[in-house]
Symmetry: D2
Subunit: 346 residues, 4 copies
């Protein structure tokens, strides 16, 4: 951390900072320029230093962190890619992971139909929400545990591992009983209680980026999960909120490449929420693969016009097959592999 | 809701939409122009219609809602201002409500000192966090139940009602035992499970606006709480996230006037988080009062440089007194009142 | 345009609007619901209606446009893709257009070296700025006319057409003398005087998206150029401004697919400004090609560390060759072509 | 400037940076930690250093500026408030400056009527656009020179100095002939050619903040004007672009207090564009005064419903008088003065 003192800061003020930094376990490097003094805090624990709130101390103009605030999630700490095995395929290495399915579990029959559709089309996991975060309290909120049961049945029938959202600390255990991957939704990315709770679960976590979260905050959210002992975190870019209204969100594919440079965790992309419009999903799935994402999460429905939620951004069978074809070809260009779907522990 | 059909939509497509709208319990008004047909859906339940996802139906170009998606929170539904009594003063009417205190409960002595300071300076309620949402899992996370106990003691000693944050559905009952007002933080504004849970509590809720929440989403979050039976919701503007980095957030005072035109609920302002820098808090507290806010929530500490969290934006006694003086004078200009602090049910 | 009247709007208010709409040359469709009246304005000239400012009239709650505000730029008006011939290759059809070169014209020798490098690597046009928009008045502002002369020489030597920025209405004629394509920078996207002036020039225009321009505003800027008679406009996505600070801008590849659905004009991508960091340019160039862009604009320098401006985002020869290889392979997957560079009218 | 080297940067890389920094005229302070070396560049010309693009050099992780990139605009350079005399009143000191009038010059009679209205209501200057930046090329673009003549006549009749926009470098001389203050609109805040040109004019400049400009970029735009010799710059906050759609822009009153701490230039607020809705203008004008702005710029029209542009945000006589009354009372609280309107050099 670098502490820049104001022009005209007194010697006493400088000494006070130096002492507090040393007391916090840091080494100190002092640069006394003509106009300003700059104090470098070397080594030590950044969180401890942050809690000193030096930026509020008399004479301090600015405090600039040098090291990253996350550790377990950092590539500095763990240079090799983390590989997470979910059913057969491995997420985060050379393989590309495709998760597909309807927005929500609408009913048993439909879910089974959708699961077979995406399995036969080459997906590696099934996604569908049993607990749905809806902007309106009057909208369909998901089937809850009943939905989880259908998901388990769909897994039994198709062999596809199941990715589904958990929204409440009280439900983590329940959802973990049925699901293979626990999804944290964009609105809960900084629900720190929930992050801690899934950090104690024995299931990989798919962590969606918050609607207006910086990449650093996203990695800090992963750090919350990891700090509880669960290192199986998959990051998912799903578009951020901007001024643009033509798309539901603004899909930030730069975030994929930046995040992959900063962390060893896998990074996947949700083009469905990213753009919010069915016609554009395939193009952005291709772009995600080309940018270097480790997988995609796509909303697919046998008859998308009838989907109970997110119909506008859900693709049908034809678009799904087109997407799988295009993505496979692009992966080949990049020397990556779209693995054949493998069965889970059925 | 207005459904605009595409140029060249077929008669069958138009008829299909008309039938689905009627089946959902709406009346239909049909406008057939030369180029396009426009369908007005009149009456009925907007959430039901929204779940039809008509924007995905063949032939539809755009669906534009006319009515608001919230009901209980809407001024159309409840034209008079909602008044919420918290201790002596009433929030939401002609009175202005000042909530002050340290960012977090750091310890017993300090909290009592701070409580006396703000009470003597004219505040109407005490704020301080026992559960703290921190970006880093390695930062101070609050004292938890111990902190709640100190808050209860501070109330007993000073007579000030207590406003404090709850972050986990499992803690709502516990926090409600100690606190007079349950605060929902900006990161949890769309934690729908938590909103429902505080909606079942018998305590007023202070609902902070999400970091990138539109005013409509903020009111929908209030609707979640209200839909569970708890109509005592106080909205709190605390700055939104923008591209600007000179301030921690961008305080949106327009949101106060807009929200007050749309809802009958009280709207208060948190200038401390809004601007994030101590030197600017008083000016923005004045601006909030001048804009027509129903109160302010301010971080105050006897020795702000020593605050364990948010030190950079916490003001000390002198600034607090200046603020109270300025705000009182501005309220007088507007014909509003800064009530004397009244004791709670001690 | 749809005019939604307030609950309780009087008959006189409704009649007043109906009359004003008719007087503006529109047909009227009236929908009288139980609670509200909705007026549809059909046909007529949207700009005329916009200038009536009906949203300010008594009794009006909201005015929602139905038709698009642009005409010449709209795909409704001109369904087939516009093809623009620049030197040999054609921009906007099946071919992919690569424009490469240093950020600024730094000197004669270097420009020639860079031009040969990108020509030999397969680029179709040379980019470099003679007039540079710099945030600081104290930074290098470009070589001006001297730079234009070097650009013309580079074209003569390599056969590559030249793309260069014009920043001042007074310079349009001068720049058009030397350049094959006039570039409008992001900061001037709504410099309407400049847009009109290049609209009168006899040169294709490369129109960068404004830093916080919506896609609609971008197309309106194109409409300004086209309304003066110059229909040769190439749109260029170059990242938008968001809260994220890890990248210089947030590259919005959704904007490419959305824009191409709304307009017949070619849409290209500038990954260099989009992400602002050299290491990530190639990945985002691949993603742009995969998303369906009609070309890319990339900053390339023989020795990027020595570049006088934008060094951090400028790639060198090795990355450029890698990029050309990857992009060519991805285009093949999509059935598009990376044409051989063809000579201009040398 | 502080240059943070990567972990594992070689001695040669460090030496290379040190040499380049020294060659650019800076002193060097070297901090060698266990993990990283940090290089402080002391003194010297920041723009020169910025042009070195050290962030692209091998071994460099990050470059953090310490000093501000603007000089003439900086309060460090010029600690006392700049006072700008416009007609009688002085802008930037203890006095509060009110500029009012219609959005555009619509015609001679109406302008005179509006000018008398705002003069009699206590405004100190008249605003109205003769050249109008309109999103659509098909909207009313202003009366041009004819409008300037009417403005001059309105000044002659009422004694009010005139503030009006200039959009084209070629028009600066013409507009300066008629106007007392040259306004640079939000879309031209980084039209550097125009900034330079008004920097050579002998008229104060009112510089609106760009729609998504940081405060630093805004001050850099002022620096452009000042670097040409014209130090009479008035900054005008007018709302920034965010995700919120309920208001036209998001008025950023924090920017006023932050800017005033960084610069000696006066800072005024345009609540009309800031919020974009007539009903809310008065509340935000009050808030601007309470926050410490040096003045306001407000759209006022004798019959706002008939305004040819910006009708939705234009207030009428009653609201204008209310606003002047409230603002005067708030200024009194703050010990500031709303001066009586004084005549210009008639």
């Amino acid at each position: 951390m670098i502490i820049v003192m104001r022009k005209g800061a007194t010697e006493a003020q400088v000494n006070d900072i130096v002492e507090r930094v040393r007391a916090a376990g840091f080494g100190v490097h002092l640069s006394q320029g003509e106009e300003r003094t700059i104090i470098g805090a070397i080594g030590g624990d950044r969180a401890v230093l942050a809690d000193l709130n030096l930026e509020a101390a008399p004479g301090v103009e600015r405090v600039t962190p040098i090291s990253k605030p996350y550790k377990l999630a950092s590539r500095d700490f763990h240079p090799e890619d983390t590989l997470i095995r979910i059913g057969g395929p491995t997420v985060g290495g050379n393989d590309f992971w495709v998760v597909a399915g309807p927005c929500s579990v609408e009913g048993r029959e439909l879910l089974l139909e959708a699961a077979r559709l995406v399995r036969d089309g080459g997906a590696h996991a099934l996604r569908a929400g049993a607990f749905k975060p809806r902007t309106s309290p009057y909208s369909f909120q998901g089937l809850g545990e009943e939905g989880l049961k259908y998901l388990a049945e769909a897994r039994a029938v198709t062999g596809l591992p199941v990715v589904t959202e958990v929204m409440d600390t009280r439900d983590v255990e329940l959802v973990a009983e049925y699901a293979d991957v626990l999804q944290i939704g964009t609105r809960n990315m900084q629900n720190f209680s929930l992050l801690r709770e899934v950090g104690r679960a024995n299931r990989p976590v798919l962590l969606k980026r918050g609607m207006s979260a910086t990449i650093e905050e996203w990695l800090m959210a992963a750090e919350y999960v990891m700090s509880e002992g669960n290192h199986q975190v998959i990051l998912c870019e799903r578009g951020v909120r901007t001024f643009e209204t033509a798309t539901r969100n603004t899909l930030d594919l730069s975030a994929v490449v930046v995040a992959k440079s900063l962390t060893h965790l896998p990074v996947v992309v949700d083009p469905s929420h990213g753009v919010g419009r069915r016609d554009f999903v395939v193009a952005l799935a291709r772009a995600a693969a080309a940018a270097g994402a480790d997988g995609i999460l796509v909303e697919v429905h046998p008859r998308p016009d009838e989907a109970k939620s997110d119909a506008a951004q859900t693709i049908g069978p034809a678009a799904f097959h087109q997407m799988m074809h295009d993505v496979a070809a692009i992966l080949q260009v990049l020397g990556r592999r779209l693995p054949a779907a493998a069965a889970v522990h059925v």
